[in-house]
Amino acid sequence: MKAFANVNPRDVKDAAAQLRQPNAVIVGGGSDLLGMVKEHLVQPDVLVNLKAIRGLDQVSAKGAEVHIGGLIPLDSLSHEPLIRKSYTVLAEAAESVGTPQIRNAGTLAGNVCQRPWCWYYRNSFPCFKNGGNKCFSVAGENQFHAIFGGGPSFIVHPSDTAPALVALDAKFRVAGPSGERTVPAADFFALPKVNASRENVLARDEVLVSIQLPRAGRGVRSTYHKVLDREAWTHAVVSAAVVLDMDQEVCKSARIVLGGVAPIPWHLPKVEAMLAGRRITPELAAQAGEAAVEGANALAKNGYKVPLTKGVVRRTLLGLATKA
């Protein structure tokens, strides 16, 4: 690897200040970052090691909300009893990432801010994500690329926790040199037509410090369904984060956010509207699946994601609604 200095900041303010140095990058768990440095996708002179800051990895109930420190390892998050019970979709999403070794090191914030796994990007093609002005997947091997929201880049957002957090209406606490700000999860991610070189609104000198979840209602149940490209250890081909607020057998309201289909977690408000106030029968779940893919734009090789998405939405909704 190229030479760099590892800096252990005292606190978040110190970290943000360190990030202003030229060629300084954040590192959380480091799993993805070190690989990117080895591949010369990132060429840092300074690694700002957020793990050194105490207290950024805790889960705590604060009044009506739950606060999760961004540096919590995914394994810890997935086993946290409060998260498993009341925010199951997030626990399941965290648990679906990688392997035990990756989950022991990888953090929630790191997973949310992860760079794309498009094979053109990761093989250093001079694309939008690599400082270029082209997307090679458009006319190339686009089996795993976007069917929604694509253009000019057609990457899919690689995070599993991101769709879960959007489905949970999470709020992100972001810290910078001038203080902290709160960004709703849905506003954190940016479409390529807004900015093709980045996936979120985090500035260079900002840190995703914590994630706040609203109180989970009593009738709320949720789940994360991930389709992988072998039995384990891949990013989502298609995934669905579903949160249902149930009153007996009636779905009062639903939140459905897809992964693996768009450059940002893909929210389905039309499908949610279809379900509000209704019983989720097999027929309705099937209709929801159909509605979920309305407006999909398949590329030459990813058309299969359309029936796949239909199936994932249908099955996840029905399974969650009829769960004992």
Partner: protein, 700 residues
């Protein structure tokens, strides 16, 4: 039934303790005083002429001690290409990953940085990725003389095998079936990345290689560097797999040696995993066009294969497509063309000619059986080979038992049904495939020293790539000598101390080297009878250099694999839920390790069937899926439980009747899975790998 004392009994590996304690020394674990680290700079283009190379910035980097390029090194790597001259550094470079320079430096980080400081001026050339396209007129010429790689007789003609008259056979058929299949480039992906350490002591060169064949490596290094054989030593005590890509010396062994010579100190040359995927070799991709003629009653009249293998730009492998020889049929024609392409080189990967060819023919024969409303098992029993090429008797053939007993253990009748039957969306299906693999006899050597303490020191040139070869050799020696296993001390992996061995490839170690071990043991027993046991510092030494005549009969191992899959037709997901592998490898020397081999080969085959491909971007000729993540190599959760059934036949050849074992394990597995998927969903995917998008595609 087993009357032997050692052979045929489950024996833990004699070196297992070293492997489980982290004390086994693999090549990468070795550090020598003053050792430098080396890295290789590789072409970023699939085809390009090098106009100039500027080393000045690399040379100026502190810690850089030696650099090789074509300008100061014109060594030919003899084993890198059997048809063309392949240098260590070629111009033009012919695939993305072709070596351009090698740098030795104080540590690996400096070496890597130095490669990035080398400035190369490339003139990019057109490139071609597909073997059939490469053969079209107007395709860019990759090697002088054209892209049709010469056959074994040096002609730019296909490799052809014929018996009978194919046109007559097709005319005699009641029905002719025609179809075509493709298979992808699959990497060996052994866990140990390539590495070599070279050290000169005066004019003697020692190479610590990661190799399946120290003898081959030794001969080839001496040849390529123009050294007397006694001035070369190759050492490999432990190595982390190869599956066929480590049986010769490699260009980087030679680069390490030359860098070490230039720098005057030992050099360790290391590969990254991506380099290992791109710059060694993998299984050749194929395109296969078949015609099969059959009578109404299911008797075969004709089999025709026209095949194309993409070899990459250097001819390192045979490029064959095997599989049809498992069938009895009067009229057969196989014509296979090997073409140069600008992708990663193709050469040996476990059963090199077979799994892809068996996938093709067994997919088509499955369709034939279904069309005739025959049970696929019955179809194979009817048409399976009885004599090699319908002409030469086999030394032993347990194929029928493999099929019958395998089917029974698998509960074929219960699991198999009409294709696509069953209500969805999750459907189960059963498929099977059969195969055979040549079990050669050939040259090898063994030396046994007996000391006065009663220890037998067995010198064999094996390295044990994971096949348990050391243990097998020890068992054979113990059996023939009539002594406990603990009395055998195996000395291996060092050409200064071990005689010639064929190298662990072609599944030949047990048969070739094991045979030599038996002969050496017999000679030793004769000496003991003659001279008595050694006393004090005396040693008795028995040497065997054997090259038994091949039997006039054909010597093959036989296999039949059965797979049951669950296909989720809504999500396109395939899971193997039951797997039975029936094997005739003659007498099984060590059932413990042999069974592990079968399980491993079958699971590798499932990966080849469902996932693995080195995918190239067509516009740029650059690879996209090099690496374990990209290749989707099978994990613990992907691997089903594989049940292994041994059909032991009596074979008069080889040590204790042992036949080839390691490679047959993967030969029918791809086809068995493909046929199971067909049975489940009633639709066939004919292009490997059978990925989710293709399944959803045929179901749409």
């Amino acid at each position: 039934m087993n009357t032997l004392n050692q052979v045929g009994h489950a024996s833990p590996r004699i070196d297992a303790q070293k492997r489980v304690t982290g004390t086994a020394t693999y090549t990468g674990d070795i550090r020598l005083p003053g050792m430098l680290y080396a890295r290789v700079l590789r072409s970023p283009h699939p085809h390009a002429r090098i106009r100039s190379i500027d080393l000045s910035r690399a040379q100026a980097l502190p810690g850089v001690k030696a650099i090789l390029t074509r300008e100061n090194c014109d060594v030919v790597w003899g084993s890198g290409d059997t048809r063309n001259k392949r240098y260590l550094f070629n111009n033009p470079v012919r695939f993305a990953g072709d070596a351009v320079a090698a740098v030795a430096a104080l540590d690996r980080h400096i070496a890597e940085e130095a490669t990035r400081l080398i400035e190369v001026d490339y003139e990019t050339l057109p490139f071609v990725l597909d073997p059939e396209e490469a053969l079209q007129p107007g395709a860019v010429e990759i090697q002088p003389g054209g892209n049709h790689s010469p056959n074994n007789r040096g002609e730019r003609q296909p490799e052809v095998y014929r018996r009978g008259n194919i046109e007559e056979g097709l005319r005699a058929a009641d029905q002719v079936f025609e179809d075509h299949y493709t298979s992808a480039h699959v990497n060996n992906a052994q866990l140990e990345p390539r590495v070599a350490i070279a050290q000169w002591e005066g004019d003697k060169l020692t190479v610590y290689a990661s190799t399946q064949g120290i003898s081959n490596c030794h001969t080839e290094i001496a040849r390529d560097l123009n050294l007397a054989p006694e001035k070369v030593r190759v050492i490999c005590q432990f190595m982390g797999g190869g599956f066929g890509n480590k049986n010769q010396c490699h260009d980087f062994d030679l680069m390490a040696a030359l860098l070490a010579k230039q720098a005057g100190v030992p050099v360790k040359l290391e590969f990254t995993r991506k380099e290992d995927f791109l710059s060694v070799h993998g299984r050749w991709p194929t395109k296969q066009y078949y015609k099969v003629g059959v009578k109404r009653d299911g008797t075969l009249t004709a089999i025709q294969l026209r095949g194309y293998s993409g070899m990459g730009p250097y001819r390192k492998g045979s490029g064959g497509i095997a599989g049809i020889e498992i069938y009895q049929c009067p009229h057969v024609e196989r014509s296979v063309t090997q073409a140069y392409t600008n992708i990663a080189v193709s050469a040996n990967l476990r059963g090199p000619d077979y799994p892809q060819g068996v996938f093709g023919i067994e997919s088509l024969m499955d369709d034939v059986a279904y069309s005739l409303k025959m049970d696929p098992v019955d179809f194979r029993l009817k048409n399976m080979t009885r004599k090699f090429n319908d002409q030469t008797p086999y030394t032993s053939i347990g194929l029928e038992d493999c099929i019958r007993r395998g089917a029974e253990a698998f509960e074929w009748k219960k699991r198999w049904h009409a294709p696509g039957a069953g209500s969805g969306p999750v459907k189960r299906g059963a498929g099977m495939a059969m195969g055979s693999f040549f079990s050669s006899m050939g040259r090898s050597s063994a030396v046994i020293d007996l000391d006065s303490r009663g220890m037998y020191h067995l010198h064999v040139g094996v390295t044990d790539i994971g096949t348990a070869a050391k243990t097998t050799m020890a068992l054979i020696a113990a059996e023939e000598l009539g002594v406990p296993l603990e009395k055998i001390d195996v000395i291996w992996g060092d050409t200064d101390r071990c005689p010639y061995s064929v190298g662990e490839s072609g599944s030949r170690t047990t048969t070739h080297t094991g045979y030599a071990v038996v002969e050496a043991a017999r000679d030793l027993k004769r000496q003991i009878a003659e001279k008595g046991l050694p006393q004090g510092s005396q040693m008795l030494t028995a040497t065997a250099n054997t090259n038994p005549a091949a039997p006039t009969a054909a010597r093959y191992s036989f296999v039949a694999h059965f797979a049951e899959v669950e296909v989720d037709t809504e999500l396109g997901h395939v899971k193997v839920v039951k797997y039975v592998a029936a094997h005739d490898s003659g007498r099984v020397v060590n059932p413990l390790t042999a069974t592990s081999q079968v399980k491993g080969g079958a699971i590798m085959g499932i990966g080849m069937a469902l996932h693995e491909e080195l995918l190239y971007d067509k516009a740029t000729g650059l690879p996209l899926t090099a690496g374990y993540y990209g290749a989707r190599v099978m994990t613990h959760l992907d691997a089903p439980e594989v049940e292994v059934l041994w059909i032991e036949t009596e074979d008069a050849y080889g040590p204790f009747g042992a036949k080839t074992l390691g490679e047959p394990t993967i030969i029918p597995s791809v086809a068995a899975v493909a046929n199971a998927i067909y049975n489940a969903i009633g639709k066939r995917v004919k292009d490997l790998p059978i990925t989710r998008d293709k399944i959803l595609g045929v179901l749409a």
